[in-house]
């Protein structure tokens, strides 16, 4: 497919997504709307890992660290200020700073591959342990009690900017969450088309080559990582807005693994894939719990195994390849009938930059 076709497809997809977000409240009932709000907030998290892993080549097993820090930062700030506006800012800044510190520590130590994964996983486990042991009144930030394993219930949800009395209704929350998801998607797309984005992909493809061309892979990876942390933190704030609750299980290993599963199922190296995978798996997990005949773990486990064996590339790349194959056939036929126009070569295109 040519670059123009891809671009117009992406623009069309964004437009469709905007329309879907806008008209959803007219068709979905309140419960469905809230469920989609949850899925969309989780999709922001999926997008953050999909970006740093698929385009920065950073395999982070502990993306929930930033998600959870964002959620806790939001909750603490919202309780203290009584206004969600500075709280959302905190939810982005705190994880971003944390990612900056952690990223400096690992990338400047030239740690990569699975070792990076282990470090991030370990950081998540530490955060889980630390937040878990914060029961009791001595662990209070301002007026916000961290609450240990029980977490922080009844966190104030989003309000209109700088107006704490105008609390958002579920529709508004949906617009905010769905809108944030689309905005982040578009932002990342634009970033990837920019110079920085192309350098990031070059670093992912071959660090040494990028370094020889005069780019510092450490800096590039660090900024990708920080951006991923900030996005995950935003996801955390959106998540708290949905449930009005945050607890240490947000750092649990199972959620970290689940994000990786979303991305594998949706397709690594795409931005739409993680979102699709997230919606799909979240929906599936909630459906499994509604049935009483089989153990939920059993069903989910079997589905994952079947998936990895039958669709190893993930949904989005598989579909794209099907479409591409169809496109190829069409253009071949066109050439055969003598209408000229050779097939566009994709060689100049960085792999995975679509």
């Amino acid at each position: 497919m040519s670059d123009t076709v891809k671009l117009s497809a992406q623009i069309a997809a964004v437009l469709v997504a905007c329309i879907v977000v806008a008209v959803m409240p007219l068709y979905a009932d309140l419960f469905q709307l809230m469920q989609f709000t949850l899925f969309a907030s989780m999709a922001v998290l999926a997008l953050s890992l999909g970006f740093i892993w698929g385009f920065g080549g950073i395999l982070c097993f502990g993306q929930t660290a930033f998600f959870g820090l964002g959620a806790y930062a939001y909750a603490v700030a919202a309780i203290n200020y009584g206004d969600s506006t500075p709280a959302i800012l905190c939810a982005v800044i705190v994880p971003a700073l944390f990612a900056l510190a952690l990223g400096y520590f690992v990338f400047y130590g030239r740690i990569s591959d699975v070792y990076l994964g282990v470090i991030t996983l370990t950081v998540t486990l530490i955060l889980f342990n630390v937040f878990n042991s914060t029961a009791g009144d001595e662990y209070t930030i301002g007026t916000a009690r961290l609450g240990g394993f029980n977490g922080m219930p009844a966190v104030p949800t989003f309000n209109m900017p700088f107006d704490p009395t105008a609390i958002l209704y579920p529709e508004d929350s949906w617009y905010v969450t769905g809108g944030a998801l689309i905005a982040i998607y578009v932002g990342l797309r634009l970033l990837l088309r920019s110079r920085f984005g192309r350098v990031a992909i070059a670093v992912r493809e071959n660090e040494t080559r990028a370094a020889l061309l005069g780019y510092d892979p450490r800096v590039v990876k660090l900024w990708v990582f920080v951006l991923g942390g900030a996005i995950a933190g935003m996801g955390g704030a959106l998540y708290v807005n949905w449930g009005a609750f945050v607890g240490p299980t947000i750092f649990a290993l199972s959620l970290s693994a689940e994000i990786i599963i979303w991305i594998c199922i949706g397709g690594l190296g795409t931005l739409i894939g993680p979102i699709v995978g997230c919606f799909l798996i979240q929906y599936l997990v909630s459906q499994i719990g509604s049935q009483q005949s089989f153990n939920s773990n059993l069903v989910l486990g079997a589905i994952l195994i079947v998936f990895v064996l039958l669709l190893p590339q993930g949904l989005v790349p598989t579909l794209r390849n099907l479409v591409a194959a169809g496109w190829y056939r069409v253009s071949e036929r066109r050439r055969e009938t003598g209408h000229g126009q050779s097939r566009q070569m994709t060689a100049g295109q960085p792999v995975g930059a679509e």
């Binding site: 130590g109 282990v118 470090i119 342990n129 990786i260 773990n297 079997a302 990895v308 190893p312």
Partner: protein
């Protein structure tokens, strides 16, 4: 004096349990670069196999040392043939598939055996060091760890299988050119790793709570230890589990178990930052 002795024993025991738990994962991860997220469930299966065998009237020692590794080794063989062999060289897919596998095993075990399980009594009694009492079983665990280390070392270092296995791990294509079928070696190695893990589960069964989800307590720690240890299976795992076990137990004794865990994790991060290739990548290059 007796206090020092008992603390030392605890530290050694902590390291030995960790080593036992990690060895199977180290074999599978170190030699095939497969991240087996179902590792904890292999431990659980080993414990279940031992307990069920013992409750069925089989001698407790045979249940732990023979039945458990055999059952889990066979299970590993089946898993390798049906699932893992499609995933070599696909690190992430292997994680996804083994995560699914772990959920599947938990679900199956729960469906078959329920959520709780009647355990077996701990064999051997206790003994006293000065004013302190501890169990002979602690020493037994230590002995099993040492024995496993010796056996795995001997197999990898001195047998024909070990030589071929190491060759395949280093360069499968070259090994194939020389007439070895790498697929068979992978199968055998995966099964061996599973059997070692099953043995660990078997010997830990008498001192653990037996539930279908018991494996999740082990997987993260084992994974961190194996990566911290680096590529060499024995020397890497031994040095890393020794170090982490030491830090964890000492931290737990002098502060609280919570800080014991946190200190363990922090030291793992620092270790990997200083030695990105793991301990063995720096100090024991070229060992097994």
């Amino acid at each position: 004096m007796d206090l020092a002795a008992i603390v030392a024993l605890n530290v050694v025991n902590g390291a030995a349990s960790l080593f036992l738990l990690c060895l199977g994962l180290a074999i599978i991860f170190g030699m095939m670069r497969i991240i087996n997220l179902a590792h904890g469930e292999f431990v659980m299966l080993g414990a279940y196999a031992a307990v069920i065998a013992a409750n069925a009237g089989i001698n407790i020692w045979i249940s732990m040392l023979v039945v458990a590794p055999l059952v889990v080794g066979l299970f590993g063989l089946v898993v390798e043939r049906c699932l893992v062999r499609f995933l070599y060289g696909r690190l992430v897919d292997s994680m996804l598939a083994t995560w699914g596998l772990s959920l599947l095993i938990i679900g199956l075990t729960t469906t078959i055996f329920g959520n709780t399980m009647q355990g077996v009594p701990t064999p051997l009694g206790g003994f006293a060091i000065g004013n302190y009492r501890t169990s002979w079983y602690t020493l037994f665990l230590l002995a099993v760890a040492l024995g496993m280390m010796a056996i795995v070392y001997a197999v990898l270092r001195y047998t024909r299988f070990g030589l071929i296995a190491r060759a395949v791990m280093q360069n499968p294509d070259m090994a194939a050119v020389l007439g070895v079928n790498p697929a068979h070696i992978y199968m055998a190695t995966f099964s061996l790793g599973a059997a070692v893990t099953g043995l660990a589960g078997g010997v830990l069964a008498p001192v653990s709570g037996i539930t279908p989800v018991m494996g999740s307590a082990y997987v993260a720690k084992a994974f961190i230890t194996v990566v911290g240890g680096g590529a060499a299976i024995i020397s890497g795992t031994l040095s890393a589990s020794g170090l982490f076990g030491f830090i964890n137990q000492l931290g737990a004794y002098f502060t609280t178990p919570v800080y014991g865990e946190v200190i363990l994790f922090l030291s793992a991060i620092v270790l990997i930052r200083i030695l990105p290739q793991g301990i063995s990548g720096r100090f024991f290059k070229g060992t097994v």
